[in-house]
Amino acid sequence: MSRPDRREASQLRALNCSLGQLNRADGSAQFSAGNTSVVSGIYGPVEAKVYEEKLDRAVVEVKFRPDIGAPTTKDKWMESAIRNTFEREILAHLHPRTLVQIVVQLREGDGSVDSAAINATSLALVDAGIPLKCMVTAATCAVLSDDTTVVDPTQEEIDAARSTHTFAFASGSPTGPLYVDSRGEFTMDEYNHCYDLCALATERVLAFMRTAIEGKVTKEAKISAA
């Protein structure tokens, strides 16, 4: 069965990103895959409120704003997913008693929003210069009703899918995923297949991110060297 947008099963949608778009944030990035588009802004390390500050590490706070309307329970779930993914990857002990605030704004949601949000946040953290253990990249897979597995599904495919799976991986570390979100009914074989597909997809996303960041750094380095 061919996909609605005629992609191959393991093909990602066209990726696009831009760094440092928001001029009042300390770091920001927009990440889009096809029609799904997310902007992430980083503020930090800034002074934490007395009741939330931790004496030995930075506090990571995530706010997720949907494209339409006020945040709902689903969005709170997304906030905790992003926080759990990045809390261990940010070297929080380097900036004790501070707050790193991550604000994620969904611009348009057309499936695979959670992986796009994680990718955007990863780029924004790099743009803000927050110390990170490694890059984090995520990808989504869906198992359709005819048992085929597709990467980076659109909302149309997710609605028709039996199960969807999102995995986030840390670059260069073989120690399993940082974040797993599986919804629907699936067998263990299907899960493992999705795991492998997503692991491959995140490698491609990482290569894309590397190119984007290298482009920005080269641009700045050229000027300071001149």
């Binding site: 300390d26 002074e47 670059s171």
Partner: protein, 242 residues
């Protein structure tokens, strides 16, 4: 320009290359004796060195120092760096100064040239000061001083009266600190002005007229993504319009 090595967080840095070079020159030196000093953007994790921020990898083969130069917008205080701050509160023995880092810096009342218990400067909230960071670590609030505590001389630090302060990226501020910064040199040839650059991404400028102050501030802000030649052209155009 030599090939630029750009690193991303998580990249493992191969620092051994340098060690081998020195080992070849001086066969007596053991590998253990070679101490590598890591600067900003690098951390040691068990046996290897990895980057934690994105930027250009630099190394000095003589001192065996390694660091990553990137651009940021949020300042993290480091000892000895000149900063421009704004007084936000007065205390019994000093001032609280906003230097753009996570926590406000302390500025003791006696940390000025010629200040004594009887005779000390009286700064109002909102005053802009140029100081140098003397205490900076992650567990304490930073502290700044407006004189050199060894010589007792101000060395250009102190209250910045009049003028205009604006913010820029930390990368631009570091480039402006260099006396050869093309935009400042080009401006200096055209109009007289005073400038105080803080590496916390704050720049204070003052000139004879308000119009000139604004011109200088705009020129510096425009120079973020311009090379030396483009800077000179941009300044020339601005001066012609004035």
């Amino acid at each position: 320009m030599a090939s630029v090595k750009i690193v991303l967080p998580g990249d493992i840095i191969d620092t051994r290359r340098e060690e081998e070079d020195t080992a070849q020159q001086e066969p007596n030196v053991e590998d253990e004796a070679t101490v590598i000093r890591l600067g900003p953007g690098l951390v040691q994790s068990s046996e290897s060195v990895s980057a934690v921020t994105a930027g250009v990898l630099h190394s000095n083969s003589e001192t065996n120092r390694w660091w990553v130069a990137g651009n940021k917008r949020r300042y993290v205080a480091a000892v000895g760096e000149p900063v421009v701050g704004v007084v936000v509160a007065r205390h019994g023995e000093g001032y609280r100064v906003d230097i753009g880092s996570a926590h406000d810096a302390l500025l003791p009342q006696l940390a000025f040239e010629g200040a004594t218990k009887r005779n000390k400067p009286n700064l109002a909230v909102g005053t802009v000061v140029y100081g140098r960071v003397v205490v900076a670590n992650s567990v304490m609030d930073p502290e700044i001083e407006c004189f050199n505590s060894n010589t007792g001389k101000s060395e250009g630090y102190g209250e910045l009266s009049e003028g205009f302060m604006f913010k820029c990226s930390l990368g631009l501020a570091r480039r402006l600190i260099d006396t050869k910064a093309p935009v400042l040199a080009a401006l200096g040839n055209g109009v007289p002005f005073e400038v105080a650059v803080g590496v916390n991404g704050r720049v204070w400028v003052n000139a004879e007229s308000v119009a000139t102050t604004i011109l200088v501030a705009n020129a510096i802000r425009n120079s973020e993504y311009l090379d030396a030649k483009q800077c000179r052209q941009m300044v020339k155009e601005l001066l012609e319009k004035q």
